[in-house]
């Protein structure tokens, strides 16, 4: 276990160093991402200046929703950005390099790339949290839900891209899945009812990423918190199983590449 953690930390640090090798470009990208997220949130601020609540969701709820969404997306981008190109790797035989190492293919392929703008997402999420947090419990819950949100997003992206094992040429569908997830998780949860709400807690689990966490922080409901944790573990297990099943159908591309593995 210790070896796996050390290997994983090395992998993430290597991809982070590579992404941050041009310091000025790195800082600029991070800063731009912070500005981008805050500009987007400003729109909600303008709306909430005109209406006190949207379907029972107040401005503080939106701050928490955006904070959790941004932090979990940032964590996912920073540590598992390779998951967003999995379908490409599957179709072009790019998993060969990862199959040669005695490590979990899903994790090593997903951690092989780092999107440094994720740091900007995390910073903007923390800025939004700082205005909405009232107690130490809120800090603990926000941290916990950012982590569970990141795991659920990672698992969802793996699931969307695993389609490529069975059906080729659906890269757009995989990307669309992530886009829909991001759209659903950044809107007040009360806007969605009926079928959309069922989808939000099953196929596209945006509800577990941000909607449920905000409700838990509002009501301090321990069952809800437990449900979010169970959902994160559950989706990760499902993604891992489906990816492993798909890997049996994987056809090598005989691509020659050099990689560094510890």
């Amino acid at each position: 276990m210790k070896n796996i953690v050390a290997w994983y930390a090395t992998l993430v640090m290597t991809s982070f160093r590579s992404a941050a090798s041009r310091r000025l470009a790195f800082l600029f990208s991070v800063l731009m991402m912070v500005i981008n997220n805050l500009l987007y949130f400003l729109t909600w601020w303008i709306i909430y200046q005109k209406v006190p609540s949207i379907g029972g969701w107040e401005f503080r709820d939106m701050q928490l929703l955006f904070g959790i969404s941004a932090c979990s997306f940032g964590l996912c981008s920073l540590f598992f950005n390779g998951s967003r190109t999995l379908s490409e790797e599957i179709l072009q035989g790019g998993l060969d390099t990862f199959l040669m190492a005695p490590r979990n293919v899903m994790f090593s392929a997903s951690s092989s790339r780092c999107d440094i703008t994720g740091l900007g997402d995390i910073i903007s999420g923390i800025i939004l949290f700082s205005f909405a947090i009232h107690s130490p419990t809120d800090i603990v819950l926000c941290t916990l839900f950012s982590l569970t949100g990141a795991i659920i997003q990672f698992a969802s992206v793996v699931l969307f891209h695993s389609i490529a094992f069975w059906i080729s040429g659906l890269r757009e569908v995989s990307d669309l899945g992530l886009s829909v997830l991001l759209i659903l998780q950044s809107q007040p949860g009360s806007l969605f009812t009926g079928m959309v709400r069922i989808i939000m807690f099953t196929i596209i689990p945006a509800g577990f990423v941000a909607t449920l966490p905000v409700q838990v922080i509002r009501t301090l409901d321990p069952v809800g918190a437990l449900l979010a944790v169970v959902a994160a573990i559950g989706y990760l297990v499902i993604a891992s199983r489906i990816f492993s099943r798909g890997l049996l159908r994987y056809e090598s591309g005989s691509r020659i590449e050099l990689g560094a593995h510890r």
Partner: protein
Amino acid sequence: MPQLLWYLLMTELVVMATPRVYRDIERDLNDGTFAVLMQKPLNYGAMRVAESLGFLFGRFPAFAAIGGIGTLIFAGEVTAGLRSPLAMGIGCLLVLLSASVMTISYTVIGLCSVFLRDTRALSMVWDKGVWLFGGMMVPLVLYPPWLQEIASWTPFYHILFGVAQIALDGVTLACIHSALTLFEWSGVGIVLIELLQRKIKSDIIGEGG
């Protein structure tokens, strides 16, 4: 309500019809085409702008026709501001002018990729600026006065709201003012493209054969 739908059509036309030229420039940079073209006796920035404007002018009629028919079906009528053929023509020209300024701005963003490697964050900020200060999601009249003031000093205000207000009020002096301001901003954009190209040419080192 019909007024708002036509307003949204005009803003969407500007955003949707504009080619994302920064992606082409980034691709050129990654596959080496950029280095090859920069050595040739041609103005790379002007070439990319011209090519994108060609795309824009080519696909705009289709976008406008489909969007216009769709809006007419949902709104049930043409908004008063665009009812005369002259106003409709001026509206189309204004949208094309706005989209041209957007194209120039995307070229500037694309050229920044030489220094930034990845311009995704920069282009996202630009798009959010258009979205927020152009009044795409929430009409600018609902903004607090201080934010309206800030928005009016940005190019985004003229790119979207300045042009689309023709759907609300018809052809007014404000539209003409916005058109003139857009010409000024396009001049700023062209100067930036030229400055960036000079900087790139002085900084870039080409190796290989």
